[in-house]
């Protein structure tokens, strides 16, 4: 039993719903009690979808348990097939139905329908949402393609046509998938590569049947598509790319990998510096101020790994923390963290992540919506890079993360929360100006001075606790406090903490003006 106040991932049947709702002409009968219907709002509210998920919940009740729940399940399956006329039927159960073992998948298969039936077994007490999504996609592809013969297949060179690829992995409630797909399609088009099928997002069962027509699978989101790509490679001999095109370097590597797998020559234009504005913006003098910015990264595996590379190689930040909530991705995240001299944080407990943020005192947090809230409490700028999805992560504008345009979006999204370089420089120059007295609120709106009117009562309580827990701390002298007050408010908290840490290490009972400068020298060294 695990105490959970908040969870990064839902149960595995939510992953299955993401696949079902992403696709067309497919219906999912979910053996589940009425409360589980809440899941519809994830799609209709967070994604603002104008149609209901294609899901029939059996909504069995306690009084049904004494009787024949199997008949109840069959009734719902029949009604769903009659009403929605799907081309493929998914049948599964949520946590409660798993306990009563009606085996709805087997029931459905015995009902004599002439459509493919995919029976889902998603262990609700050990697995989570992304695993459920991945397993569901894999089961659909396997069910629909297991009898496919690959014998008459020819290469694009033999058939004298443009090469074709499938984009696998994008789903609803995935981070910016809608726009990533468009961006990658556009990118591939520029290199003369056609997109055969995009799945699960927007694909019908008939589209899944067309997957074998492609020369290569592009695994855009390994969390969802990796197991499917491996199966397609083993059984239908379709190779797949493993580089996720997030960031300039990764987009170049992705194009290089894809061209190699397709046996195409890599055009030099892949390496042109002006493909994405990120490259020049990051080289421009203004961005000097980004050098060595301490950044803490947490999210799903793919986005956390990519963020670490972009932060480290393309923006010149210093990664001070790297982690993921996705245990399936721990295998990849651990060595990446190690390469940065860090130990990866693998946890599903947001309070542990918040503690790690406090510990590393970063200048920027790249995380999920939960880290955005934690960072707000701590007064640290934050940009959201990963699921779980929030209505803010489905912007009206085109806002991909992948490809060249994705890199542009990332530059803006990550750098704007930080003080823009020139602005920071000016504030440093004019810090004694009347405008920058205590209480001046930066346009960023995060905690500065006394500008705490935006924080909830619960937030205030934690802050209060923070300031109360001071036992054993060195005492600030009047001179020390006076000198501290000259430091711009937005770094004052950090300077205070650093100085106190230093004083404790150095064994100072008092902090005066000199201690402050000693600490400054100590941390700069």
């Amino acid at each position: 039993m695990e105490l959970t106040l908040w969870t990064y991932e839902g149960p595995p049947h939510i992953g299955a719903m993401r696949i079902a709702t992403s696709m067309k002409k497919l219906h999912y009968v979910l053996h589940a009690p009425q409360g589980d219907t809440y899941a519809d709002l994830l799609f209709t509210m967070i994604e603002r979808r104008g149609s209901r998920p294609p899901v029939t919940y059996t909504t069995f009740q306690a009084r049904d348990l004494g009787g024949d729940t199997a008949e109840l399940v069959k009734g719902h399956i029949k009604e769903a097939v009659d009403r929605f006329k799907p081309e493929t039927l998914l049948v599964g159960e949520s946590c409660t139905a798993e306990l009563i073992q009606d085996q709805p998948g087997s029931l459905a298969k015995g009902m004599g329908f002439d459509i493919p039936i995919v029976s889902l077994e998603l262990p609700a007490y050990s697995k989570k949402e992304n695993w459920g999504g991945s397993e569901t996609f894999y089961q659909i592809v396997r069910t629909l393609l297991k009898d496919h013969s690959n014998e008459s297949k020819h290469t694009w060179q033999e058939e004298k046509r443009r090469p074709r690829v499938n984009l696998l992995g994008p789903t609803l409630l995935g981070f910016r998938c809608r726009d990533d797909v468009l961006e990658i399609q556009k990118l591939l088009g520029q290199y003369g590569i056609d997109v055969n099928v995009v799945a699960p997002l927007g694909a019908s069962p008939a589209d899944i049947m067309r997957i074998p027509n492609a020369d290569v699978n592009v695994c855009l989101y390994p969390e969802i598509a990796e197991s499917t790509c491996i199966w397609l490679e083993r059984n239908l001999n379709i190779p797949f790319t493993t580089t996720v095109p997030l960031g300039v370097g990764a987009t170049q590597d992705f194009l290089k990998e894809l061209h190699e797998v397709l046996e195409m020559e890599i055009p030099q234009s892949v390496y042109e510096a002006n493909n994405s504005k990120l490259t020049w913006y990051s080289n421009s003098v203004d961005s000097n101020y980004l050098t060595g910015k301490r950044v803490f990264i947490f999210g799903d595996g793919t986005h956390a790994l990519s963020a670490a590379r972009i932060a480290n190689e393309e923006l010149g930040f210093k990664v001070v923390g790297l982690g993921t909530y996705s245990r399936e991705m721990a295998r990849k995240v651990r060595p990446a963290a190690k390469a940065l001299g860090l130990e990866a944080l693998i946890t599903n407990d947001y309070l542990e992540v918040e503690d790690a943020i406090k510990e590393t005192s970063p200048e920027l947090v790249l995380g999920t919506q939960m880290e955005r809230h934690s960072a707000k409490r701590l007064g640290i700028p934050c940009a959201v890079i990963s699921t779980p999805m929030h209505v803010q992560d489905v912007p009206a504008r085109y806002s991909p993360q992948m490809g060249w345009e994705g890199a542009n979006v990332i530059f803006d999204d990550w750098v704007h929360p930080l003080m823009m370089g020139l602005e920071e420089h000016l504030i440093g120059m004019f810090k004694h100006d009347f405008e920058f007295v205590d209480g001046h609120q930066s346009h960023l709106g995060h905690l500065g001075g006394k500008g705490d009117q935006n924080i909830s009562k619960d937030d205030k309580r934690t802050n209060l606790q923070d300031s109360v827990i001071k036992d054993g701390n060195p005492i600030w002298t009047h001179e020390g406090e006076k000198e501290l007050s000259k430091i711009p408010f937005f770094v004052r908290g950090k300077v205070r903490r650093n100085t106190e840490n230093y004083a404790r290490q150095a064994g100072c009972r008092e902090i005066n003006e000199e201690t402050l400068y000693d600490a400054k020298a100590h941390y700069k060294a």
Binding site: L3, L5, T7, Q34, G35, D36, T37, L65, C95, T462
Partner: protein, 418 residues
Amino acid sequence: MSGATLLKESGPKEVFCGLTSIVWLHRRMPDAFFLVVGSRTCAHLIQSAAGVMIFAEPRFGTAILEERDLAGLADAHDELNRVVKNLLARRPEIKTLFLVGSCPSEVIKIDLSRVAENLNIELKGQVTVLNYSGSGIETTFTQGEDGALKALIPLMPKSDQKKLLLVGTLANAVEDRLISIFNRLGIDNVESFPPRQSIELPSIGPGTKVLLTQPYLTDTSRELKNKGAEIIEAPFPLGVTGSTLWIQAAANSFGIDKSIVDSILNPLILRAKQALAPHIEKLSGKKLFLLPESQLEIPLARFLSNECGMEIVEIGTPYLNRDLMKAEIDLLPSDCRIVEGQHVEKQLDRVRDSSPDLVVCGMGLANPLEAEGISTKWSIEMVFSPIHGIDQASDLAELFSRPLRRHEILNPKTLTSN
């Protein structure tokens, strides 16, 4: 009863389970903690419905069952004990801990009352541990509050004191207002249940007259009756008429002179009707369809039809308690169709066939209906908003007139021949 047609329907439902009540109960009693004993689905449901992230340390959580908890019940009980003790060690401010049963905990028959009993012995009164079920196989949405209140009743001290007890969660501001009106009428001893602090429970006994503020408290009202309290029969305090009848019922029960009641309420009624007028203009003649969810559907329909002139197509209700709803149903127009239970697909077919101007529904259904051009109102808003009482009648009407007004702004009628 009036001539309202009562129908029953069964099939796939689209409603929240009782766990969702935690969303407002934890705000009402900030010294209590609600620990759901359930699955990752339960945790995900509550965080999806409640916007949990704004809380540094929310006052609710889930003890998520894992594979090994399913193997042996003895171990599950021990595990729960461990989780509770960790939680209480970290959160010493908790005064009352509700162990909330869920679908999986009910199916595997975890005995929460036994766990609570043992914990109460161990904790020696530092924290009171209670239990109730919010499971979706037994409860719907607001019924969770019924369960939580019922669990508190055995702790209420006994007293023969004459008092008015308002039962059901109200917004604090509304509650203060209603109490001050009762005081003006001469009913001085007015208390609320649930209280604002879980440990400040009102006393109960033969002198207690209970006035229900919410229509979903079946078990609670029965238990209060068993404790000797008298349940005052009245419609619910929604709208001018409902609230007036509700206050009058209490005044009658306390033997307050009618002229005093009138002299105090009449100016409020007059003012409320003035405030209501612009909304009536917007709502009058418009067709309303209420899907089942909060159990407030019948009183809302009564207000919107009788006072705002809306035409009721159908009133869905998750379940119908004829005793508690009698006064409401009597006030409904005689041609009303009330459907108990749900077959969500057939009901949505009826929604489309009747092309209503406004549909009251759950959060999952709202946008799909909006996308079809049908204005909607979330039923969950009714349990969060201060809508009770004479003074709030126009605010309540505004909740329904706003979507219509918005629809008109965004879709101005063009002068075309069709």
